[in-house]
Each structure stands twice: as C-alpha cells, then as structure tokens.
C-alpha cells in the first residue's frame, strides 16, 4: 500500500463514480439524473485513461516525438470510444426527457411513474 499517493487518479475516478451514484439515487430531477450519468461516464473515462499512463511518457505519436517512453495507446482508444458512446446515450436521453416534459409537464421522477406494480 506504499503507493497510495501515486494512485490518486484512480481514487478520484472511483470517488467520481460514487458521487454520481449518489446523484442518481437521491436527486429526483430527471435532468440532474442525466447529469449524474454524464458524471459517472466521466469518472469511468478518467479511470480508463489513467490506467494507460506511464510515468514520464509521451503521447504515442511518432511525429517529431521527443525521446522517452510512450503511454499506452489502447486505453486512449477505449476512452475515445467510450466518450462517443456517452455522447450518443446523452443525446437520446435528453430527447426522451423533452418528450416526458411535454407529456407530463414535469421533470420530477416521482411524477413520471404511470407504470408501477
């Protein structure tokens, strides 16, 4: 456990996920819920991209690169994919929320529960 200070980025990512879980569970406003999901996505992306960091590394691009190690390219590619996926999810969520607002006139998740039981 001697490397706890070094692991700070991972810790930040995990806490970001935890905070966004708090938002998603306890905030009843649908827009806030979506913001929570966006935050969770940022947390996961931060986690992924931090996994690939190598101490003192350069970006893995050979064009005029200085001497030294390169950071891992695969996590960066995964993060890129994940970011685009989250953009897509958010766009669709917001669209559906617009419709929910037009139908129920409210953004409260306790108001949009026509179906239960």
């Amino acid at each position: 456990m001697e490397h706890i200070p070094l692991n700070f980025p991972f810790l930040a990512a995990a806490l970001l996920v935890g905070i966004s879980f708090y938002i998603i569970i306890f905030k009843k406003n649908l827009i806030k819920l979506i913001m929570g999901i966006a935050m969770m996505a940022s947390g996961v992306n931060l986690f992924l991209v931090a996994l690939g960091y190598r101490a003192g590394g350069n970006a893995p691009i050979y064009t005029d690169v200085p001497e030294g190690p390169m950071v891992l390219p695969v996590p960066q590619a995964l993060t890129l994919t994940s970011i685009v996926i989250n953009v897509a999810v958010l766009a669709l969520m917001l669209t559906i929320v617009i419709h929910i607002y037009r139908h129920t006139g409210s953004l409260d998740s306790e108001k949009s529960r026509k179906m239960k039981g």
């Binding site: 998603i24 996994l51 669709l92 559906i96 929320v97 929910i100 949009s112 179906m115």
Partner: protein
C-alpha cells in the same frame, strides 16, 4: 461456399449493419424496396447462421481475427497474447445466434403491418437492423470491450424503439427507464473491464481466462459484471424496469427485446463459465444465481397474475421464465468443480437451462406478438376492456393457445421437454428447487387461463363488432414461431443432441474456448 462460411461470423454482423445504413436512403426512394431489403438481408442472415451452425457442429469452434493477415491468425507472429479483436463462435453463441436470427426475422415480418400506420418507418427499420447487429455482436465477440460496444448498440437502439410511439406518455417513460438502466449497467461493465485490463493488460476473453488469478480485484470486477448483466437480463430484484420498458414497446420490438435479455444472460454465463471458469468460487456464484432465480420465478409469476395490462402481464412471465434458466444453469455452475456431480446431473441441469432459453425464445415472442395483435385490433392493452375476441381473431386465438400451453409446460409441447430436464436434474441438487418450479408452472397456467378467458372468451362485445383478423404478415410471423414450437415439440432429442449439448459443453469446459485463441501459436 467454404469461403462464405469462413467469412460468415463477420458477415452475420456486417450484413444487417450495412443494410441498416442503406435503409434510410432506399426508404426515401421506395417503401417496397426498403421492406424487401430488410426481409432479404435478414433471411440471408438466417441462411448464414444455419450454414455456420452446421460447420461448427462438424469442425468445432470458429475464430475470426479482424484485420489480421489471415482470419485464423489469432496471435501475431512472435508474440504471446492476442492484440486484435477476435470473433469466437462456439456452441453456446451459435445457439443464441440461431434464436436471434429466427426471432428477428419474425419480428421484421410482423412489423411490416404492425407499424404500417405510423410515421418514421424508415428510421424504425434502421434501428431494428441495428439492434439485430448489436445482438449478433454480443453473441459472437470474443473481446470484452467489444462486448460492451455491442451491448450499447443493442441498448440504444432498443431504447429508441421502445419510445417509438411518441404520442403516448408511457412509452417515453419506459424508454427513459430502459436507457438509464442500460447506461448505468454498461458503465459498470466498462469499469469492470478497466479493472481486469489494469491487472492483465488484456481484453480478449480467452486470453484473460488463461491468466486470471481471482484476486480481490477480480472479485470486485466479477460482482460488477455479473450484477450489471443480470440487471440487463431482468433478474428479481433488479427486474423493476423490465415490465415498464417491455410493455410499452411495439410488440415486434418487445419480442426482440426478450432475446436481448437472453443475450445479456449469455454474457453473464460467458463471464462466469468462460472468463472466470475454473478459478471461480463456483458454489457461491452458483448459489447467488439459484437464489435470485427462485426469487425471479416466484415473484415474476405472482406479479403476473396480478396484472391487468396484457403486455405487462407477459413481461412478468418473461421474468418468471428467466428464473428457470437461472436455476438450471446456476445448479450446473454450483457443481462445476466436481466432475462426478457434473456428469450425474450438472450437465443435464445446464442443458435444461439452455434448452429453456431456446424454448422461451420461441413461445414468449409468439405470446408478445399475440398481445400486439390484441393491441392492433382493440387499440388498448388493458385486459379489463377486452372480451370475446376469439369470435373474430381465430388465428390469433389458436396461436395464443399454443403459446400458453407451451409456456405452462403442458406435455407434449416444447416447454415441457426443457422443464423436465430442469426438474429432474435440479431435484438431485435440492428438492425445493423442483417444487418451486412446479408451483410456478401451475401458477403460470392459471394466469394465462385468466388472460385467455378475459381477452378471448365470453360473448362478443359490442365495441369489437367491427374487429377483423390481423393482417397477413403478422400471422405469418406468429406462424413462423409456432412452427418452431411444433418442431421442437416433435423432435426434442434431435434438438438437444444437435444444439443444446454442444452449448452446455461449451459452458462446462472453458478449455476449447481458450485453446481456440491461444493454442494456435504459429
């Protein structure tokens, strides 16, 4: 032909994808050409799936390395681990692909008239084909991150399709719940993938399975992966979103969504059996699945009896039927470490669970389609407003009876053959499981009788005097699935030997799956 089969894993994924991209431009020009494109591409996919299935039953696991100098070259020359994305098709993925190809074709045919009066049809079919792509991708991929990507494709297109009828408020609510749940589940899957990647620097399932250690980190990753996939599959108590989302979608989409649930279930099995495999603390995970499986069966069916909305009622039954699969496969998983017990009843339990996936995938979409036919004719999903429809909907009634008998496990229909496999093997593990299963079966029959009586039986109600039999394409789609039921009913041993046992063996023994990736070092 041989070249076609060698390329077929990617073609099965890419053809619906390319067709989806083409649907919009073609649909703007001509409606008929678009419908023909959808049906022809899905029919071709069915053909490819069966050709590949035949090849796999003869030659074993099929691997396809994307972008390599040769599709068989899973690991680059002079290196130890796979770098590229590998598609890997074994018995279990093949079974799922057979199910998915048939149901998606039936759903596309059903949609032709079910949504004929709606606007936005071009985009509807685009999303339908994308969902097909996502499902096949989830079933065929041998790469964890790729699994996540295809899970998202299936989820996003599913959410948009659930919310398709924007004029109703409940569709929007169902779509929103579905997309929130899928977004969070898939983000947790991604987090778990990150945890695994951080330790082993690998993403391929086979290569990971070879080196996995079951450390604390792996346990946390297992919990995240397992619960995220089971939530997407709709296991009690994570089923709450399931009826909300599935009851409001167009019926053809609901039929397909059931199979995406099965695909998530498949992913959970893949994680437990193939990824963790021998390293897994099998009895504990097995008991987790069994306990939640019993809960699913019982809560699902008791909630279903209570329902008054026909699609919601069937959705709860889907949850209940998923419970049979969880306990069947869970018992197999619980005894996985013990070769004797696996031979005595573990293999039969897994076979029963897997066979039940096949059977459920035939009768549950059929029942959802009949529910959609009721909605099509009456304009409501509320059972309290229905009655006497058997006078008008003769085909629908007969098909509903077939589905009902099958889901309740009335011999000789196919539901019985898988349930007997589950009951007999699970009884030796713990008798209470079989007893619960039989009680749930009885309750299932009771609730379907209730729905049958209130929708179809009774005098002809005055408000439905003008109702006509549903359009032909809807009947054709239902008849396809009913024909599947009859076929499985008549030849259970043929089906079990040809598809179910290879699938069960693929789950029990992770060796061939790993060897297919790592054994082929040139």
């Amino acid at each position: 032909m041989a070249a076609l089969i060698a390329q077929s894993p990617i073609l099965i994924i890419a053809i619906p994808l390319a067709a989806a991209f083409l649907t919009l431009p073609i649909g703007m020009a001509s409606k008929k050409a678009r419908n023909a494109l959808v049906i022809v591409s899905l029919t071709f996919v069915v053909f490819l799936v069966f050709a590949l299935a035949r090849d796999i039953s003869i030659n074993g696991i099929h691997v396809y390395t994307l972008g390599a100098t040769s599709p068989d070259l899973t690991i680059p020359k002079g290196f130890m681990v796979p770098v590229r994305i590998i598609l890997e098709v074994d018995g279990m993925s093949m079974l799922m692909a057979i199910i998915w190809s048939i149901v998606s074709l039936a759903a596309a045919i059903y949609s032709l008239s079910h949504i004929a009066n709606e606007t936005g049809q071009n985009r509807f079919y685009t999303l339908l084909l994308l969902m097909v792509t996502g499902g096949f991708g989830m079933m065929f991929t041998g790469d964890l991150f790729n699994l996540f990507v295809f899970l998202e494709i299936a989820s996003i297109s599913g959410a948009a399709l659930i919310a398709f009828r924007t004029r109703f408020a409940d569709t929007q609510e169902g779509g929103f719940k579905y997309i929130v749940v899928s977004a969070i589940a898939s983000l947790m899957v991604l987090f778990a993938i990150g945890l695994l990647y951080s330790q082993y620097n690998l993403l391929n399932i086979g290569a990971l399975a070879q080196v996995i250690q079951y450390t604390t980190l792996d346990k946390i990753a297992l919990a995240l992966l397992l619960i995220a996939f089971t939530m997407k599959a709709g296991m009690v108590p994570l089923h709450l979103w399931f009826p909300d989302a599935y009851s409001v979608a167009p019926a053809s989409i609901t039929g397909m969504l059931v199979i995406t649930s099965h695909a998530c279930m498949y992913a959970a099995f893949r994680v437990c059996f193939t990824l963790y495999g021998g390293m897994l603390d099998a009895p504990v995970v097995g008991w987790i699945l069994i306990v939640f499986g019993i809960l699913s069966m019982f809560v699902g069916v008791t909630m279903a009896i209570f329902q008054k909305d026909v699609m919601r009622f069937m959705s709860y039954h889907a949850i209940s039927q998923l419970g049979y699969m969880w306990i069947g496969v869970g018992v197999g998983l619980a005894v996985l470490g013990n070769a004797d017990l696996v031979a005595t009843y573990g293999r039969d339990a897994i076979s029963g669970g897997v066979f039940h996936i096949l059977n459920h995938a035939m009768y549950k979409p059929l029942l959802f389609f009949t529910g959609g036919a009721l909605f099509h004719c009456t304009g409501t999903r509320d059972l309290t407003k229905m009655g006497g429809l058997a006078h008008k909907l003769k085909w629908t009634t007969v098909l509903y009876i077939i589905g009902t008998l099958s889901i309740s496990g009335i011999p000789p229909l196919n539901g019985f053959s898988s349930k007997i496999l589950i009951y007999e093997s699970v009884y030796q593990f713990h008798p209470i499981l079989t007893i619960t299963g039989i009680i749930v079966s009885i309750l299932t029959l009771a609730s379907f009788t209730k729905a049958f009586h209130s929708a179809f039986m009774g005098a002809e109600l005055p408000e439905y005097k003008k109702v006509k039999e549903v359009p032909r394409s809807m009947i054709i789609a239902m008849v396809i699935l009913a024909a599947g039921i009859v076929f499985i009913t008549l030849f259970p041993s043929l089906i079990v030997n040809w598809t179910i046992h290879p699938a069960a063996d693929a789950l029990i023994d992770q060796g061939p799956y790993i060897n297919a990736v790592t054994g082929a070092i040139p």
